[in-house]
Symmetry: C2
Subunit: 539 residues, 2 copies
């Protein structure tokens, strides 16, 4: 196996040298920020999104080199290839066409010579019709009761994006439907939901491309037996989102409706497909789901069409790689100053870490540079009262601050210290990036701040479905641009396979034990045996 | 200012050398795990908690050196000094006595020559009585309606621990009371709660030691005006948890009851004080809160009394520092295979990162070694379907796996593939640490796993209040032991001050603008001005 040395490319090497320069005291952010035009020079605006990287540890020369890297890596071209249906997921020999899920142009998108847009449009129309019938109470549960609870049964990419969007837009949920997520195979997850819902009024959406995901199948089975115990007909309480012809799309196993997923849209990129479409249309109405898609489409078009130095996700990806590989930050935080975005970090954590936590190039060569980083985050100002101590005085990590200009709930305008709560929130959103960047010297070392801690700030005008779509698509495009820089495949996830294989062996031992109490786990290693004996005491 | 070189201590230097040896191929975990007695040698059991560090990258010799470090740093002695009321919070010149909050012995604890236990016991009794009266509906809202919603108004340490415990034990919540958290000053946080609750049946608990925390005061004011708008009497809908004599404990500002906090218990260590006691006793009943305290007390006593090599939090701290400073891992994940522990990582994130994200020793000298690390996490198996790709094939990070032997909801025993959902969960809990440690070579580089990725596994017998108390106190004691190794003060948080100061200046600008539209923000730097103009358009 070959090792690919990023450092063999000339521009990579020059960036390494540039990082040395940017590490020097005169390039401390407190000096860079003396340039009164800095925010003009180091910010972008497009499709109603503002992206400010003036508090990143870059200068013009650094950005020039990064744009050179972008050209060297052919980023724009490769994004266009992805959108055009080329098989960019090389290890699995298929395209990555999440952008097609929100394509509202009349242009075809060909996969193996066949236009996939008619199928995609059909799924959208199926969702629209189904959601409308549920809202009009034409489709009901088996006892004729309208649906009031929707429970998504799905894990990873089958729920994280939907959970993020549902939270972000929950103040728009006017369909008298609550949404819940049965993701974990932990019986506590099911037990809690079962204790809350009215089963006669509950619709379960099973989401699994293959319809073989262990956790999702175990949960779907548990739910099925629960519905049967209550004397109801499962066929009237389930829908599935799955591949055409999977065990979840089988007339012998009837459900209210089955919506198709395509193998060219990966789980973590699937919230704009039926994966998000079915639950979000039930929760918010199809129209709002479509507005969300259109926002995402606008950002996709921006990513395709904007010049490198005006391209928000592309610049964000360059900054991310600069921080990761050249300045050496292993982690990054996402801090939305907006409670409705509280699940953004969890979604991007999957999107980014599963896409780009790789150690081989797309061509199967080992990399000499780390790819991907740890993503974590909580809403601000909460995060300030939690882990920002470390951000200011401990290990530095870059931060994406996210702000919303116009909040919902405008009826509450109470003022404290002369400002509304939204203004108080913004006083912190403005202060934190400055404090992190500038630092402050103090005679008391415990009160000194070394500063020079980088951040970006992203602003949304408001929490409209369009803006949530734009924000989502920004992070999706950023993630794939990063992968293109690293020459990795952001669409596979072989790293999860080994654990699955070992779990299968352990499950077999447990199943044998359930059948035959005399199984004393002699086939497994001593540690596994110890844990099996702990779970099955009395051996 | 002096710089303290950890590497000047002989044992620290020998650990650096040891890390070189542990980095060699023959010390790969796949080899270390060939020892059939490894789990016996590298695990501990105490107060019903099992702690397995057999998949950490240590051998006997490494542990010997770490125990030498523990002695050199006087860890046990310093823990006893903390528990005994010495002023271990040197920068703020006060003790750190969270352990006293769950002290049920008859022994006094002296602060400045005065036994503080009578006051602590009085607060516990006040809480018990108040909760009982609310549950018996002797204390009601201003219209005589019993309380059905409790909303905690508090941020950081004033809610994260309570949120963790409330989630962990929510299946025990049989008092007909829902609990919610108004932490963020974001108006979306208040707006959502206001849209859910019945204000006549809602009790608000304002938690702030100084009663000056900007976010908490803004929220309390917003709530007060909301209650008044509804024609209700705020005095009958508020309680406060605050310092004696603070503005929240003022007869001119009447509330249903005021419970005292003490300056010797820091926010992030305060869930066993009235901070957690008032909301958790209302939500779960005082008896369960006391059981939780007693579990925490047991772990405190274990941390004080157990020998170094049998001491779970002490060993966990040694492992943590070993991973952080010697093996060089900057981050650590907490992955509970139990949905009810879904807020554990967020709580420990604050506890650990705010306590130990420091760059100076307790004596004010600069450190040459990083302290603290990034803590993040989500429940398993969810995390497997989110960011474990990076854990297996990208940047390695140590993981604390947490399992629960006996789940709640025993009525659901449906089997898939021959196992119950709880068994399916455990097959993953057992498989993942093995997969991470062992790795697997494959002819296809994309399917190769380098392994040697360290983890610990912590087991709880069940989700009893006692076990949640033990788990909490384990992480608290681990955190302070880490600080003692680094010679830092884990009880202050000066790192949050600079942002507060800058936010105050910005808030003043906003307040002036609210008063006088002609304020054009001429006193601030260009970036701040840009953001102010964005929030106040039309300048």
């Amino acid at each position: 196996m070959n090792t690919v040395k990023q450092s063999e490319s000339p521009v990579w090497n020059r960036l390494i040298q540039r990082a040395d320069i940017m590490d020097s005291p005169e390039k401390h952010l407190k000096h860079l920020l003396k340039d009164n035009d800095r925010i003009e020079k180091f910010s972008l605006k497009a499709v109603d999104i503002f992206y400010d990287f003036s508090r990143q540890r870059v200068d013009e020369k650094t950005m020039d080199l990064l744009f050179e890297l972008a050209e060297f890596k052919n980023l724009k071209q490769r994004f266009l290839e992805m959108v055009g249906g080329e098989k960019v997921n090389v290890t699995e020999n298929r395209p990555a066409l999440h952008t097609a899920a929100r394509n509202f142009s009349d242009d075809p998108v060909f996969v193996n010579g066949r236009d996939v847009m008619p199928e995609i449009i059909k799924v959208r129309n199926d969702i629209k019709k189904f959601a409308l019938h549920v809202h009009k109470e034409k489709i009901t549960g088996s006892t004729g009761m309208p649906f009031r609870h929707v429970v998504v049964i799905g894990i990873g990419g089958s729920y994280l994006g939907t959970e993020f969007v549902a939270n972000a837009l929950d103040f728009l949920a006017d369909k008298k439907i609550e949404i819940m997520f049965l993701s974990n195979v932990d019986i506590h997850n099911f037990g809690k939901i079962a204790s809350i819902i009215d089963v006669e009024r509950t619709l379960w959406i099973v989401i699994s491309k293959s319809y073989t995901t262990a956790e999702t199948m175990a949960n779907a089975n548990q739910v099925r037996s629960f519905i049967l115990e209550k004397g109801l007909d499962p066929a009237k309480h389930f829908v599935t989102v799955t591949s055409k012809g999977s065990p979840g799309d089988d007339p012998d196993n009837p459900v209210l409706s089955s919506f198709h997923m395509f193998d060219f849209i990966g789980g973590r990129y699937s919230v704009t497909s039926a994966v998000g479409g079915v639950p979000l249309s039930l929760y918010l109405g199809y129209k709002r789901f479509e507005r969300f898609l259109k926002g995402a489409e606008e950002m996709d078009l921006h990513a395709q069409n904007a010049r490198e130095n005006e391209n928000i996700p592309l610049v964000a990806a360059l900054i991310s790689v600069w921080n990761n590989n050249f300045l050496g930050y292993p982690a990054q935080a996402i801090i939305p100053y907006a409670s409705p975005l509280s699940k953004l970090a969890a979604h991007i954590q999957q999107l980014s870490m599963e896409s780009n936590g790789k150690s081989v190039t797309k061509d199967g060569n080992r990399l000499d540079e780390p790819t991907g980083g740890i993503i974590f985050g909580e809403p601000g100002t909460n995060a300030q009262h939690s882990f920002f101590q470390l951000a200011h005085q401990g290990r530095p990590f870059p931060i994406d601050f996210i702000g919303v200009i116009h909040p919902h709930y405008k009826q509450y305008q109470n003022q404290s210290k002369g400002v509304t709560n939204h203004q108080e929130l913004w006083s912190n959103l403005i202060a934190q990036p400055t404090a992190l960047a500038q630092g402050k010297e103090d005679a008391n070392p415990a009160k000194s701040f070394s500063g020079n801690r980088p951040s970006s700030t992203i602003l949304l005008k408001d929490l409209s479905p369009e803006n949530i779509g734009r924000l989502l698509a920004l992070y999706e495009a950023k993630t794939v641009f990063e992968a293109f820089i690293w020459d990795i495949n952001p669409f596979d996830q072989f790293g999860v396979e080994l654990g699955k294989i070992l779990a299968t062996d352990i499950r077999k031992e447990m199943a044998m034990k359930n059948q035959d109490k005399s199984n004393t786990f002699e086939n497994v290693d001593p540690i596994t045996k110890f844990y099996l004996n702990t779970l099955f005491p009395g051996n």
